[in-house]
């Protein structure tokens, strides 16, 4: 009997802990927003973070984008040629990249490549008391350390998502037109007829902007509140990747329902 009560207590405690953590994250987010002007005024802070988060992720994004596009072209062709409409491959690939795969896969890769590094860096700063030292010197660590990293993620994720989609379309062009031999002209013209700038490309950009906020916030939050031990930093890094991946996929569902439902009504 006691063990059952303990179990229920444990359940309630973990729910309350999760809620408290969510509230803490919300407060932390507001604190970042209050000082978001600092990295804009001291631009070199932002540029440094853009380099480490954005530029260093470039290779993995472009290479994976190209391969995703190539695979989409092969799989799409396989199905479409059964209906004798292989020319619509361009639309299929472009729409799936611009609407879904570009923003989502980029955000997942970015969380693994850059988000984890940010968490580990901030966590280690916290563990070695660098952030406390900054506070002692009357330098706001949130303005100096956290907000540039957060802003860099918000800025670079949409750019990376664009590059991912562009690389994917290029990969699909290579496989579809050069390898399989779909007509060059109809590949592009069908694509242009099927993809709308406002509806598809801008919505994809909005998605990746939201993902940038989510991944950036989770990465700096987990780092800032990581327990100051080796184990704490390592588990915080893991949590960043897991939580941001889940957050991105859930947010994607919500945004997709909001953006594309009723599109055909």
């Amino acid at each position: 009997m006691n063990s059952v009560i303990e179990m229920i207590e444990g359940l309630g405690r973990s729910v309350l802990n999760a809620l408290a953590r969510l509230g803490l994250a919300g407060r932390f987010f507001l604190a970042i927003l209050m000082v978001i002007g600092v990295p804009l005024r001291r631009f070199s802070l932002l540029v440094r973070e853009l380099y480490f988060s954005g530029v260093r992720s470039l290779l993995i994004i472009v290479v994976s984008g190209t391969f995703v596009g190539m695979v989409l072209a092969i799989q799409g062709y396989e199905v479409l040629q059964r209906f004798g409409s292989a020319e619509t491959l361009g639309v299929l690939v472009a729409l799936s990249l611009v609407r879904e795969l570009g923003p989502v896969v980029t955000a997942l890769l970015f969380a693994g490549r850059a988000g984890s590094a940010v968490t580990a860096e901030i966590g280690l700063m916290q563990a070695t008391d660098q952030i406390a030292a900054m506070d002692m010197m009357a330098v706001n660590p949130i303005a100096r350390i956290i907000s540039p990293r957060f802003l860099a993620s918000v800025v670079s994720l949409p750019l990376l998502a664009c590059m991912f989609s562009a690389a994917g379309v290029f990969g699909a062009y290579l496989v579809g037109v050069k390898l399989i031999g779909i007509d060059d002209g109809s590949f592009w013209s069908q694509m242009q007829a099927g993809v709308d700038f406002r509806l598809d490309i801008v919505n994809g950009l909005i998605k990746s902007l939201v993902f940038g906020v989510a991944v950036g916030l989770i990465a700096v939050f987990e780092g800032y509140y990581a327990p100051p031990t080796a184990e704490g930093v390592s588990s915080a890094t893991t949590r960043t990747v897991v939580t941001s991946s889940l957050a991105v996929l859930m947010l994607d569902f919500v945004l997709t329902v909001w953006m594309f439902r009723g599109l055909n009504g």
């Binding site: 070199s44 440094r48 380099y51 530029v55 990376l160 664009c162 993809v195 709308d196 490309i201 009504g265």
Partner: protein, 157 residues
């Protein structure tokens, strides 16, 4: 010295991102041509619009000349009111016929404009009076079945 390395790389990164966006907008999307030009709006009322959607193309002789701007139901006459935005490069006479057709057997529906002979042209806010509603497959089939049935009963008597 180290800072300038960051600057260059980040500048290139941002430029590449914007370039990718421009590529998506111009080459993949359709941000060129019709979308940017203004055009004038005309109104067309249909008994039934079938599966016509907002943003469906308006074609004349197969050439896209505009888009469907909005579709609403007139609660007085119970007719569907479609607002068509037509590129201002194209002029259509007052007695143009608007009909809703389907591209291919299973394709999307679009509005087709057939120009008439009137010398007065349609302008902003005008109404196309001659329209042809969409073909509803179920209605056609039931009409066909009823006519068949009445035919067979007629011959048996």
């Amino acid at each position: 010295m180290k800072k300038s390395k960051f600057d260059l790389a980040v500048g290139l990164f941002v430029a590449a991102g914007i370039l990718a966006l421009v590529f998506l907008a111009m080459k993949v999307g359709n941000l060129t041509g019709l979308e940017t030009s203004e055009g004038y709006r005309v109104e067309a009322r249909f008994d039934n619009i079938g599966g016509l959607k907002v943003r469906a193309p308006v074609k004349s002789a197969g050439v896209v000349v505009g888009r469907v701007d909005s579709i609403t139901l007139d609660s007085q006459t119970y007719e569907a009111k479609a607002i068509l935005r037509i590129d201002q490069n194209y002029k259509f006479s007052k007695d143009t016929i608007a009909s809703i057709l389907t591209s291919g057997l299973l394709g999307e529906q679009y509005v087709s404009l057939e120009a008439g002979g009137d010398s007065v042209y349609l302008g902003q806010g005008d109404r196309i009076s001659k329209t042809q509603p969409a073909m509803i497959l179920e209605k056609l089939i039931s009409q066909f079945l009823f006519s068949k049935a009445s035919e067979s009963t007629g011959t048996s008597k």
